[in-house]
């Protein structure tokens, strides 16, 4: 097995939130005991419920926000303290891409200037070298130097997202967190950006944390996928295997609910009940009020994420390994 670039051990993070007009403040457990590892050069996909803590996890992994508990290690070393020179050195090796490419770019500056910005900030290379690097980056994302002279408003959505990608790659990072990087794009442009990410990853040996609601895109780009529900990871497995044979009832519902042209909704699992309120986490398994298979134990006892064989980990009372046998028997 190759070395781990990112190791996240039981991180938690809660926010306090006022409820109602005169409400007391309540704690929202955005992330609750999440552990993840990403080997060098691999992509970990992160999917799950809206509001389940995916973006929060991404921010903590990048050191943009400290965890309340737990630890993140990058390339074998603990994350440096926010704002220190050691942190800046570490930060230059990791970058982030957000959902909204227009929001991420400054409308008043030509895009080439913005690609160059991280080189200026981190003082990388002499001025002429920086110019060369910008041209090289534009080429890497399949744009021309002429595009570099334009303002964000004069580029299409897909082109803007490639500019954001070029800027993220400027410092030659080892690690990239992509939070919904293609969801604002059309299917046709989305495919361009996904292909480009795959190519760049192969060429540069990048390690990626890829967050998205779109299971198809996640499967396309990930080696391993983790599924989150209400702040916790409920299932982890290899991308192909996980979506082909989901084990956790939430993942099963997610995959079955994921619409596909040409496949009518035969046998679809439509969940009853409401999406959960993170400020009032249900006792026991957080999924039990919506779970079609819940048993009495689910309402009281929290299921632990545990290995069920075949590289799969599941947090559900009904799924206990080894899964290969149970599958074959069924």
């Amino acid at each position: 097995m190759s070395a781990l670039l990112v190791e996240v051990s039981s991180i938690s993070r809660s926010y306090s939130m006022r409820s109602g007009m005169f409400g007391r403040s309540t704690a929202v457990h955005a992330v609750d005991g999440v552990s993840l590892t990403i080997p060098k050069g691999d992509t970990l996909g992160l999917v799950g419920e809206s509001g389940s803590g995916k973006s929060t996890t991404g921010r903590i992994v990048l050191g943009l926000e400290p965890p309340d508990r737990g630890e993140v290690r990058f390339d074998g070393k603990p994350m440096a303290i926010l704002g220190t020179p050691a942190w800046r050195a570490q930060r230059a090796r990791m970058q982030m891409i957000f959902q909204d490419p227009l929001g991420a770019l400054d409308r008043r500056l030509p895009v080439a200037t913005q690609i160059r910005e991280p080189l200026d900030i981190h003082g990388l290379g002499a001025s002429a070298e920086r110019e060369d690097r910008v041209r090289e980056l534009l080429r890497a994302v399949e744009l021309t130097p002429a595009h570099g002279g334009r303002y964000p408003g004069a580029l299409s959505g897909g082109q803007r997202q490639r500019i954001v990608l070029a800027r993220a790659l400027a410092t030659k990072p080892d690690f990239l967190v992509c939070d919904e990087p293609v969801s604002a794009l059309d299917v046709s442009i989305q495919a361009q950006v996904v292909n480009l990410l795959c190519d760049l990853q192969a060429q540069l040996g990048l390690t990626l944390l890829f967050i998205s609601h779109d299971l198809r895109v996640v499967r396309q780009i990930s080696n391993v996928v983790a599924v989150m529900y209400l702040g916790r990871i409920v299932e982890v497995g290899s991308a192909d295997d996980l979506f082909a044979r989901p084990e956790h009832p939430y993942t099963q519902a997610l995959v079955s609910a994921s619409p596909a042209p040409g496949r009518r909704s035969a046998g679809r699992i439509v969940l009853a009940g409401d999406p959960p309120n993170p400020a009032a986490r249900p006792q026991g398994c957080a999924f039990h009020p919506r779970c079609p298979r819940a048993i009495a134990r689910c309402a009281s006892e929290v299921p632990v994420l545990s290995s069920v064989g075949g590289g799969r980990q599941v947090a559900c009372h009904l799924v206990t390994g080894p899964r290969a046998e149970t599958r074959d028997a069924a």
Partner: protein, 327 residues
């Protein structure tokens, strides 16, 4: 049977730049029509124009009729009566469509009083019925709550309840489930199809998500650069798209099972509306483009019962089929 809605030659321009360049669409009573296409192709503008919701500086021409009656440029009083009454719309951003300082009861009752001519106890009973219908638990108590006290998925369902308040014959749902995870999306779409069956309501579903459209619509129209380029029954469009853009769109969708292949992306980008190519707007990106494609824009022509395509190649094959010599 006369169509419920008939749109002919609908054109819209902003500051001299055309964004709708002649849209033709019909919608039968109770039918579910999907509208897909490139971002900025005019999906939202089509319905905003039809319902008289565009800003005044928009230049609109063509014809939109509802039950045979022209509504494009109709007096404001008539349009007010139609919107929220016979035709309801769910907008892309649900949070902005509810008033944050009014309770849900107040907003629902207002809509009911306006469009259904109900009063007193009947209004409150109907408001409660609607909230129950869209599956808000503990509805009787929740009527007194404000929008921010509901989760995102619940706000979306309240929007649907508001839209249904006028007993519409047509619901226009513009990206009703974007940004929600698939399990909540499925719940909302299931709700819409139940309501449609029970009330015989027609629906236009605007979405980027081809899967959502395929599963929830009878017929699909594909838009590109201000025009409809293909129209077909949903199952036929996804099984056998004819327009090269529709083919590209469906081919670009990553599969959820089977082996992983490199995605087939459509090269290039949408043309700038201010500099539209003279011929087919898709020609610069089309792998099949030939010389005639650059000369004149192909019109949307039938290729079979209930199927129409705007592409020279489809025209040629249709001519061959019908035994008409190409001129």
């Amino acid at each position: 049977m006369a169509p419920l809605v008939n749109i002919e030659g609908l054109r819209v321009a902003f500051g001299g730049v055309p964004v709708l360049r002649g849209v033709d669409l019909t919608l039968g009573k109770g039918e579910a029509l999907g509208l897909v296409g490139e971002s900025g192709s005019g999906k939202s503008v089509t319905w905003l124009a039809a319902l008289g919701l565009l800003p005044r500086h928009a230049k609109v021409s063509g014809s939109v009729s509802l039950d045979g009656r022209e509504i494009l440029g109709a007096p404001a009083s008539l349009l007010d009566q139609i919107r929220g009454g016979r035709v309801a719309m769910i907008f892309q951003d649900p949070a902005s469509a509810l008033n944050p300082v009014l309770t849900i009861r107040k907003q629902l009752c207002e809509a009911l009083a306006l469009h259904r001519d109900l009063s007193g106890k009947t209004v409150k009973a109907e408001a409660l019925r609607l909230l129950n219908l869209v599956g808000i638990p503990d509805a009787a108590r929740r009527l007194a709550a404000y929008p921010h006290e509901f989760s995102g998925g619940q706000v979306q369902r309240i929007m649907i309840a508001m839209a249904l308040a006028g007993n519409p014959d047509l619901l226009i749902a513009d990206e009703p489930t974007t940004a929600l995870d698939a399990t909540i999306q499925a719940q909302i779409l299931e709700l819409l199809s139940t309501v449609r069956r029970e009330m015989g309501m027609a629906m236009v579903l605007i979405s980027h998500d081809l899967g959502v459209v395929a599963e929830n619509c009878d017929r699909v129209a594909v838009m590109y650069a201000g025009r409809i380029v293909e129209q077909a029954p949903a199952n036929q469009l996804f099984a056998d798209p004819v327009h090269p853009y529709a083919q590209g769109l469906i081919g670009a969708l990553p599969p959820l099972d089977g082996p992983r292949r490199r995605l087939t992306a459509i090269p290039g980008t949408v043309p700038d509306p201010a500099h539209m190519p003279r011929g087919c707007a898709f020609a610069p990106r089309c792998v099949f483009a030939a010389e005639p494609c650059g000369l004149a824009a192909p019109s949307l022509a039938p290729i079979a019962d209930d199927r129409a395509v705007a592409c020279i190649r489809a025209e040629a094959s249709r001519r061959a089929l019908l035994g008409i010599a190409a001129e």
